[in-house]
Amino acid sequence: MIDNGFEPKILAFCCNWCSYAGADLAGVSRLQMPPNLRVIRVMCSGRVSVEWVIKAFSSGMDGVMVLGCHIGDCHYIDGNHRTKKRFVLLGKLLGALGIEPDRLCLDWVSASEGQKFQDVVTKFTSRVKELGPNPIVAA
Protein backbone atom coordinates (compact mmCIF):
# COMPACT_ATOMS: atom_id res chain seq x y z
CA MET A 1 0.00 0.00 0.00
CA ILE A 2 1.59 3.27 -1.08
CA ASP A 3 1.87 5.99 1.51
CA ASN A 4 1.18 9.29 -0.17
CA GLY A 5 -0.53 10.80 2.85
CA PHE A 6 -3.93 10.52 1.19
CA GLU A 7 -6.63 8.56 3.02
CA PRO A 8 -9.48 7.84 0.65
CA LYS A 9 -13.12 7.70 1.70
CA ILE A 10 -14.59 4.46 0.44
CA LEU A 11 -18.22 3.38 0.50
CA ALA A 12 -19.30 -0.20 -0.14
CA PHE A 13 -22.77 -1.59 -0.78
CA CYS A 14 -22.96 -5.21 0.34
CA CYS A 15 -25.78 -7.69 -0.05
CA ASN A 16 -27.13 -9.44 3.04
CA TRP A 17 -26.75 -13.02 1.81
CA CYS A 18 -23.30 -13.03 0.26
CA SER A 19 -20.92 -10.10 0.43
CA TYR A 20 -22.12 -8.73 3.77
CA ALA A 21 -21.84 -12.25 5.19
CA GLY A 22 -18.42 -12.58 3.59
CA ALA A 23 -17.43 -9.34 5.29
CA ASP A 24 -18.70 -10.75 8.59
CA LEU A 25 -16.60 -13.86 8.06
CA ALA A 26 -13.56 -11.71 7.41
CA GLY A 27 -14.29 -10.08 10.76
CA VAL A 28 -14.77 -13.36 12.57
CA SER A 29 -11.49 -14.55 11.08
CA ARG A 30 -9.81 -11.32 12.27
CA LEU A 31 -8.56 -10.53 8.76
CA GLN A 32 -7.18 -6.99 9.09
CA MET A 33 -8.03 -4.32 6.54
CA PRO A 34 -7.44 -0.63 5.93
CA PRO A 35 -10.00 1.42 7.90
CA ASN A 36 -11.21 3.52 4.98
CA LEU A 37 -14.25 1.42 4.21
CA ARG A 38 -17.86 2.10 5.26
CA VAL A 39 -20.43 -0.57 4.47
CA ILE A 40 -24.11 -0.04 3.70
CA ARG A 41 -26.16 -3.22 3.82
CA VAL A 42 -28.89 -4.06 1.29
CA MET A 43 -30.83 -7.29 0.85
CA CYS A 44 -29.67 -7.78 -2.74
CA SER A 45 -26.99 -6.10 -4.86
CA GLY A 46 -29.85 -5.67 -7.34
CA ARG A 47 -31.20 -2.99 -5.00
CA VAL A 48 -28.12 -0.85 -5.41
CA SER A 49 -29.31 2.10 -7.45
CA VAL A 50 -26.86 3.60 -9.91
CA GLU A 51 -28.11 6.97 -8.69
CA TRP A 52 -26.77 6.22 -5.19
CA VAL A 53 -23.31 5.65 -6.57
CA ILE A 54 -23.51 8.81 -8.68
CA LYS A 55 -24.59 10.70 -5.57
CA ALA A 56 -21.74 9.17 -3.59
CA PHE A 57 -19.16 10.31 -6.14
CA SER A 58 -20.82 13.69 -6.48
CA SER A 59 -20.68 14.11 -2.68
CA GLY A 60 -16.99 13.39 -2.47
CA MET A 61 -16.47 9.65 -2.04
CA ASP A 62 -13.11 8.72 -3.51
CA GLY A 63 -14.10 5.15 -4.27
CA VAL A 64 -17.32 3.15 -4.31
CA MET A 65 -17.71 -0.63 -4.18
CA VAL A 66 -20.70 -2.73 -5.17
CA LEU A 67 -20.28 -6.28 -3.90
CA GLY A 68 -22.83 -8.99 -4.59
CA CYS A 69 -23.29 -12.73 -4.88
CA HIS A 70 -21.52 -14.58 -7.66
CA ILE A 71 -23.55 -14.73 -10.83
CA GLY A 72 -25.73 -17.81 -10.58
CA ASP A 73 -25.75 -17.77 -6.79
CA CYS A 74 -28.01 -14.79 -6.11
CA HIS A 75 -30.39 -15.44 -3.24
CA TYR A 76 -33.02 -13.75 -5.36
CA ILE A 77 -32.25 -15.82 -8.46
CA ASP A 78 -30.98 -13.16 -10.86
CA GLY A 79 -31.11 -9.80 -9.09
CA ASN A 80 -27.35 -9.59 -9.50
CA HIS A 81 -27.61 -9.92 -13.27
CA ARG A 82 -28.97 -6.38 -13.35
CA THR A 83 -26.29 -5.29 -10.90
CA LYS A 84 -23.60 -6.49 -13.24
CA LYS A 85 -25.04 -4.81 -16.29
CA ARG A 86 -25.77 -1.53 -14.53
CA PHE A 87 -22.36 -1.11 -13.01
CA VAL A 88 -20.38 -2.27 -16.01
CA LEU A 89 -22.32 0.45 -17.86
CA LEU A 90 -21.71 3.03 -15.12
CA GLY A 91 -17.99 2.38 -15.34
CA LYS A 92 -18.14 3.27 -19.02
CA LEU A 93 -20.27 6.36 -18.38
CA LEU A 94 -17.85 7.59 -15.72
CA GLY A 95 -15.02 7.15 -18.19
CA ALA A 96 -16.94 9.15 -20.80
CA LEU A 97 -17.21 12.02 -18.33
CA GLY A 98 -13.55 11.81 -17.39
CA ILE A 99 -13.89 10.11 -14.00
CA GLU A 100 -11.50 7.16 -13.66
CA PRO A 101 -13.58 3.95 -13.89
CA ASP A 102 -11.18 2.31 -11.43
CA ARG A 103 -12.85 4.35 -8.70
CA LEU A 104 -15.82 2.03 -9.06
CA CYS A 105 -15.32 -1.57 -7.96
CA LEU A 106 -17.86 -4.22 -8.97
CA ASP A 107 -17.06 -7.64 -7.52
CA TRP A 108 -18.62 -10.84 -6.23
CA VAL A 109 -17.96 -12.20 -2.76
CA SER A 110 -19.76 -15.21 -1.35
CA ALA A 111 -20.63 -15.75 2.30
CA SER A 112 -17.70 -18.14 2.65
CA GLU A 113 -15.12 -15.83 1.07
CA GLY A 114 -13.82 -13.83 4.03
CA GLN A 115 -10.36 -13.96 2.53
CA LYS A 116 -11.58 -12.61 -0.78
CA PHE A 117 -13.35 -9.75 0.98
CA GLN A 118 -10.14 -8.74 2.69
CA ASP A 119 -8.30 -9.05 -0.59
CA VAL A 120 -10.76 -7.03 -2.66
CA VAL A 121 -11.02 -4.26 -0.07
CA THR A 122 -7.28 -4.00 0.46
CA LYS A 123 -6.51 -3.94 -3.26
CA PHE A 124 -9.23 -1.40 -4.00
CA THR A 125 -8.17 0.90 -1.19
CA SER A 126 -4.64 0.77 -2.52
CA ARG A 127 -5.78 1.58 -6.06
CA VAL A 128 -7.89 4.51 -4.93
CA LYS A 129 -4.94 5.84 -2.93
CA GLU A 130 -2.91 5.79 -6.14
CA LEU A 131 -5.63 7.60 -8.05
CA GLY A 132 -5.75 10.34 -5.44
CA PRO A 133 -8.69 12.44 -4.25
CA ASN A 134 -12.02 12.48 -6.11
CA PRO A 135 -11.39 14.82 -9.06
CA ILE A 136 -15.01 15.95 -9.14
CA VAL A 137 -14.82 17.88 -5.90
CA ALA A 138 -11.17 18.80 -6.21
CA ALA A 139 -10.66 22.26 -7.66
Partner: protein
Amino acid sequence: MIDKVRQIISDLLDRGEADAVLALANEHGNVQPYLYKKGDSLDNLVLWPKYSMGPIVQSIQNADPALKLAVVVRGCDDRALVELAKRNQISLFNVRIIGLACTEAEAKECACAHPYPRSIDVGDKIDGIVSSDELAEVSGKDYGGRLQFWKDAFARCIKCYGCRNGCPLCICEDCVLEDDAWVKAGEIPPPFPIFHLIRAYHLSDKCVECGECQSSCPMDIPLTSLYAMIREEFSGLFDYMPGADEDRKSPLVTSLEEEPIREGTA
Protein backbone atom coordinates in the same frame (compact mmCIF):
# COMPACT_ATOMS: atom_id res chain seq x y z
CA MET B 1 -40.53 15.42 -51.43
CA ILE B 2 -43.26 17.44 -49.75
CA ASP B 3 -45.68 16.71 -52.60
CA LYS B 4 -45.18 13.04 -52.08
CA VAL B 5 -46.03 13.45 -48.41
CA ARG B 6 -49.15 15.40 -49.34
CA GLN B 7 -50.16 12.59 -51.66
CA ILE B 8 -49.72 9.93 -49.00
CA ILE B 9 -51.66 11.92 -46.43
CA SER B 10 -54.62 12.61 -48.70
CA ASP B 11 -54.70 8.99 -49.89
CA LEU B 12 -54.80 7.66 -46.34
CA LEU B 13 -57.57 10.06 -45.36
CA ASP B 14 -59.61 9.50 -48.53
CA ARG B 15 -59.43 5.74 -48.25
CA GLY B 16 -60.39 5.92 -44.59
CA GLU B 17 -57.23 4.15 -43.50
CA ALA B 18 -56.60 6.99 -41.10
CA ASP B 19 -59.07 9.16 -39.21
CA ALA B 20 -56.42 11.85 -38.78
CA VAL B 21 -52.84 12.43 -39.84
CA LEU B 22 -50.32 14.13 -37.57
CA ALA B 23 -47.80 16.27 -39.41
CA LEU B 24 -46.33 19.79 -39.29
CA ALA B 25 -48.00 22.89 -40.64
CA ASN B 26 -46.96 26.49 -41.04
CA GLU B 27 -49.73 28.43 -39.38
CA HIS B 28 -49.42 32.22 -39.35
CA GLY B 29 -45.65 31.97 -39.81
CA ASN B 30 -45.18 29.44 -36.98
CA VAL B 31 -44.47 25.76 -37.51
CA GLN B 32 -46.51 23.51 -35.24
CA PRO B 33 -47.89 19.97 -35.08
CA TYR B 34 -51.11 19.74 -37.03
CA LEU B 35 -53.79 17.08 -37.18
CA TYR B 36 -55.11 16.79 -40.74
CA LYS B 37 -58.62 15.36 -41.20
CA LYS B 38 -60.34 14.24 -44.39
CA GLY B 39 -61.13 17.21 -46.58
CA ASP B 40 -58.55 19.55 -45.00
CA SER B 41 -56.32 21.53 -47.34
CA LEU B 42 -52.68 20.39 -47.27
CA ASP B 43 -51.30 23.72 -48.50
CA ASN B 44 -49.83 24.66 -45.14
CA LEU B 45 -47.98 21.35 -44.73
CA VAL B 46 -44.26 21.72 -44.01
CA LEU B 47 -41.58 19.18 -43.14
CA TRP B 48 -38.97 21.35 -41.42
CA PRO B 49 -38.00 22.45 -38.77
CA LYS B 50 -38.56 19.09 -37.17
CA TYR B 51 -40.71 18.65 -34.11
CA SER B 52 -40.68 15.88 -31.55
CA MET B 53 -43.78 13.88 -32.44
CA GLY B 54 -43.65 11.31 -29.65
CA PRO B 55 -45.25 13.41 -26.90
CA ILE B 56 -47.89 14.66 -29.37
CA VAL B 57 -48.95 11.12 -30.25
CA GLN B 58 -49.17 10.44 -26.51
CA SER B 59 -51.50 13.39 -25.94
CA ILE B 60 -53.68 12.46 -28.90
CA GLN B 61 -54.03 8.87 -27.80
CA ASN B 62 -54.79 9.84 -24.22
CA ALA B 63 -57.63 12.02 -25.51
CA ASP B 64 -58.93 9.55 -28.10
CA PRO B 65 -57.52 6.03 -27.78
CA ALA B 66 -59.68 4.61 -30.60
CA LEU B 67 -58.54 7.12 -33.20
CA LYS B 68 -56.91 5.61 -36.31
CA LEU B 69 -53.86 7.77 -36.48
CA ALA B 70 -51.18 8.23 -39.11
CA VAL B 71 -48.09 10.26 -38.34
CA VAL B 72 -45.24 11.66 -40.41
CA VAL B 73 -42.07 10.63 -38.63
CA ARG B 74 -38.36 11.08 -39.06
CA GLY B 75 -35.93 8.46 -37.76
CA CYS B 76 -35.81 9.88 -34.26
CA ASP B 77 -39.62 10.11 -34.03
CA ASP B 78 -39.95 6.53 -35.22
CA ARG B 79 -37.49 5.35 -32.58
CA ALA B 80 -39.16 7.46 -29.90
CA LEU B 81 -42.55 5.95 -30.74
CA VAL B 82 -41.11 2.45 -30.43
CA GLU B 83 -39.60 3.17 -27.02
CA LEU B 84 -42.77 4.89 -25.81
CA ALA B 85 -44.85 1.92 -26.97
CA LYS B 86 -42.54 -0.45 -25.09
CA ARG B 87 -43.25 1.53 -21.96
CA ASN B 88 -47.04 1.54 -22.40
CA GLN B 89 -47.17 5.29 -23.04
CA ILE B 90 -48.59 4.95 -26.55
CA SER B 91 -49.98 2.13 -28.63
CA LEU B 92 -48.61 1.46 -32.10
CA PHE B 93 -51.50 -0.85 -32.87
CA ASN B 94 -53.70 1.64 -34.69
CA VAL B 95 -50.89 3.90 -35.86
CA ARG B 96 -49.74 4.11 -39.47
CA ILE B 97 -46.17 5.37 -39.69
CA ILE B 98 -45.33 7.61 -42.66
CA GLY B 99 -41.55 7.35 -42.74
CA LEU B 100 -39.59 10.42 -43.80
CA ALA B 101 -35.84 10.15 -44.35
CA CYS B 102 -33.76 13.22 -43.53
CA THR B 103 -31.55 15.06 -46.01
CA GLU B 104 -27.82 15.47 -45.50
CA ALA B 105 -28.24 19.04 -44.35
CA GLU B 106 -30.92 17.99 -41.86
CA ALA B 107 -28.75 15.17 -40.52
CA LYS B 108 -25.84 17.57 -40.10
CA GLU B 109 -28.06 19.96 -38.14
CA CYS B 110 -28.71 17.26 -35.53
CA ALA B 111 -25.34 15.50 -35.91
CA CYS B 112 -27.44 12.37 -36.40
CA ALA B 113 -25.97 8.99 -37.33
CA HIS B 114 -29.33 7.36 -38.18
CA PRO B 115 -31.38 9.96 -40.06
CA TYR B 116 -34.05 7.52 -41.25
CA PRO B 117 -36.97 5.55 -39.82
CA ARG B 118 -37.29 1.73 -39.90
CA SER B 119 -39.35 1.93 -43.07
CA ILE B 120 -39.01 4.86 -45.47
CA ASP B 121 -41.99 6.20 -47.47
CA VAL B 122 -40.46 9.49 -48.59
CA GLY B 123 -36.85 10.48 -49.15
CA ASP B 124 -33.64 8.53 -49.52
CA LYS B 125 -31.67 6.83 -46.82
CA ILE B 126 -28.30 8.50 -46.26
CA ASP B 127 -25.46 7.43 -44.03
CA GLY B 128 -25.67 10.13 -41.45
CA ILE B 129 -23.03 11.88 -39.37
CA VAL B 130 -20.97 9.50 -37.31
CA SER B 131 -19.08 12.08 -35.36
CA SER B 132 -19.33 15.81 -34.81
CA ASP B 133 -16.27 18.00 -34.28
CA GLU B 134 -17.11 18.34 -30.64
CA LEU B 135 -17.42 14.64 -30.11
CA ALA B 136 -14.09 14.04 -31.78
CA GLU B 137 -12.52 16.67 -29.55
CA VAL B 138 -13.81 15.16 -26.31
CA SER B 139 -13.17 11.54 -27.28
CA GLY B 140 -9.56 12.33 -27.99
CA LYS B 141 -8.83 13.64 -24.50
CA ASP B 142 -7.51 11.71 -21.48
CA TYR B 143 -9.57 11.43 -18.29
CA GLY B 144 -8.31 14.69 -16.85
CA GLY B 145 -8.93 16.56 -20.09
CA ARG B 146 -12.40 15.11 -20.51
CA LEU B 147 -13.36 15.87 -16.96
CA GLN B 148 -12.30 19.49 -17.37
CA PHE B 149 -14.25 19.72 -20.63
CA TRP B 150 -17.46 18.50 -19.04
CA LYS B 151 -16.96 20.47 -15.82
CA ASP B 152 -16.63 23.63 -17.88
CA ALA B 153 -19.63 22.76 -20.05
CA PHE B 154 -21.89 21.91 -17.11
CA ALA B 155 -20.77 24.93 -15.13
CA ARG B 156 -22.95 26.88 -17.56
CA CYS B 157 -26.08 24.91 -16.66
CA ILE B 158 -28.87 27.11 -15.29
CA LYS B 159 -31.11 24.12 -14.47
CA CYS B 160 -33.88 25.29 -16.80
CA TYR B 161 -34.90 21.63 -17.39
CA GLY B 162 -35.09 22.41 -21.12
CA CYS B 163 -33.19 19.22 -21.95
CA ARG B 164 -35.52 17.16 -19.78
CA ASN B 165 -38.65 18.87 -21.08
CA GLY B 166 -37.68 18.55 -24.74
CA CYS B 167 -36.69 14.89 -24.54
CA PRO B 168 -39.42 12.58 -25.89
CA LEU B 169 -38.33 9.79 -23.55
CA CYS B 170 -38.31 11.81 -20.35
CA ILE B 171 -41.76 10.64 -19.36
CA CYS B 172 -41.69 10.29 -15.57
CA GLU B 173 -44.52 12.05 -13.84
CA ASP B 174 -42.29 12.63 -10.84
CA CYS B 175 -38.82 13.37 -12.16
CA VAL B 176 -36.03 12.62 -9.72
CA LEU B 177 -34.17 15.68 -10.97
CA GLU B 178 -36.89 17.78 -9.34
CA ASP B 179 -36.66 15.86 -6.08
CA ASP B 180 -34.81 17.74 -3.40
CA ALA B 181 -33.30 14.52 -2.11
CA TRP B 182 -31.29 14.20 -5.31
CA VAL B 183 -30.98 17.72 -6.74
CA LYS B 184 -31.46 20.52 -4.24
CA ALA B 185 -33.65 23.39 -5.25
CA GLY B 186 -31.84 26.69 -5.62
CA GLU B 187 -28.36 25.42 -6.46
CA ILE B 188 -27.20 26.86 -9.77
CA PRO B 189 -25.42 25.20 -11.46
CA PRO B 190 -26.47 21.85 -10.00
CA PRO B 191 -23.46 20.06 -8.45
CA PHE B 192 -21.48 18.26 -11.11
CA PRO B 193 -22.21 15.66 -12.32
CA ILE B 194 -25.31 14.53 -10.52
CA PHE B 195 -28.01 16.18 -12.66
CA HIS B 196 -26.56 15.26 -16.01
CA LEU B 197 -25.10 11.85 -15.15
CA ILE B 198 -28.38 10.67 -13.63
CA ARG B 199 -30.23 11.82 -16.73
CA ALA B 200 -27.64 10.24 -19.01
CA TYR B 201 -27.89 6.93 -17.16
CA HIS B 202 -31.70 7.00 -17.27
CA LEU B 203 -31.60 7.61 -21.01
CA SER B 204 -28.77 5.20 -21.83
CA ASP B 205 -31.29 2.60 -23.01
CA LYS B 206 -33.78 5.15 -24.35
CA CYS B 207 -31.93 7.94 -26.22
CA VAL B 208 -33.24 8.11 -29.79
CA GLU B 209 -30.77 10.68 -31.07
CA CYS B 210 -33.29 13.45 -31.73
CA GLY B 211 -31.04 16.28 -30.51
CA GLU B 212 -33.91 18.09 -28.76
CA CYS B 213 -31.84 18.34 -25.59
CA GLN B 214 -29.11 20.40 -27.21
CA SER B 215 -31.47 22.51 -29.28
CA SER B 216 -33.46 23.31 -26.11
CA CYS B 217 -30.38 24.27 -24.11
CA PRO B 218 -29.93 28.04 -23.87
CA MET B 219 -26.34 27.66 -22.65
CA ASP B 220 -24.89 25.73 -25.61
CA ILE B 221 -23.94 22.69 -23.56
CA PRO B 222 -22.80 20.03 -26.05
CA LEU B 223 -25.38 17.46 -24.94
CA THR B 224 -25.57 15.60 -28.24
CA SER B 225 -21.87 14.79 -27.89
CA LEU B 226 -22.42 13.45 -24.39
CA TYR B 227 -25.33 11.32 -25.53
CA ALA B 228 -23.42 10.10 -28.56
CA MET B 229 -20.74 8.82 -26.18
CA ILE B 230 -23.39 7.22 -23.96
CA ARG B 231 -25.05 5.52 -26.92
CA GLU B 232 -21.75 4.21 -28.17
CA GLU B 233 -20.86 2.70 -24.79
CA PHE B 234 -24.30 1.15 -24.43
CA SER B 235 -24.28 -0.26 -27.93
CA GLY B 236 -20.79 -1.62 -27.40
CA LEU B 237 -21.84 -3.47 -24.26
CA PHE B 238 -25.21 -4.80 -25.37
CA ASP B 239 -25.47 -4.46 -29.15
CA TYR B 240 -28.74 -2.61 -28.57
CA MET B 241 -30.09 0.50 -30.21
CA PRO B 242 -33.11 2.18 -28.64
CA GLY B 243 -36.03 2.27 -31.01
CA ALA B 244 -34.76 -0.37 -33.41
CA ASP B 245 -36.86 -3.28 -32.22
CA GLU B 246 -40.37 -3.12 -30.77
CA ASP B 247 -40.06 -6.54 -29.15
CA ARG B 248 -36.65 -6.29 -27.59
CA LYS B 249 -36.58 -5.35 -23.91
CA SER B 250 -33.94 -3.11 -22.43
CA PRO B 251 -30.84 -5.09 -21.41
CA LEU B 252 -30.75 -3.18 -18.12
CA VAL B 253 -33.97 -4.82 -17.01
CA THR B 254 -33.47 -8.39 -18.10
CA SER B 255 -31.34 -11.30 -16.97
CA LEU B 256 -27.93 -12.06 -18.44
CA GLU B 257 -29.43 -15.05 -20.25
CA GLU B 258 -31.94 -12.89 -22.06
CA GLU B 259 -29.57 -10.00 -22.81
CA PRO B 260 -25.92 -10.81 -22.15
CA ILE B 261 -23.03 -8.37 -22.02
CA ARG B 262 -21.07 -8.73 -25.24
CA GLU B 263 -17.89 -10.74 -24.91
CA GLY B 264 -14.67 -8.85 -24.46
CA THR B 265 -16.30 -5.59 -23.59
CA ALA B 266 -16.72 -5.72 -19.79
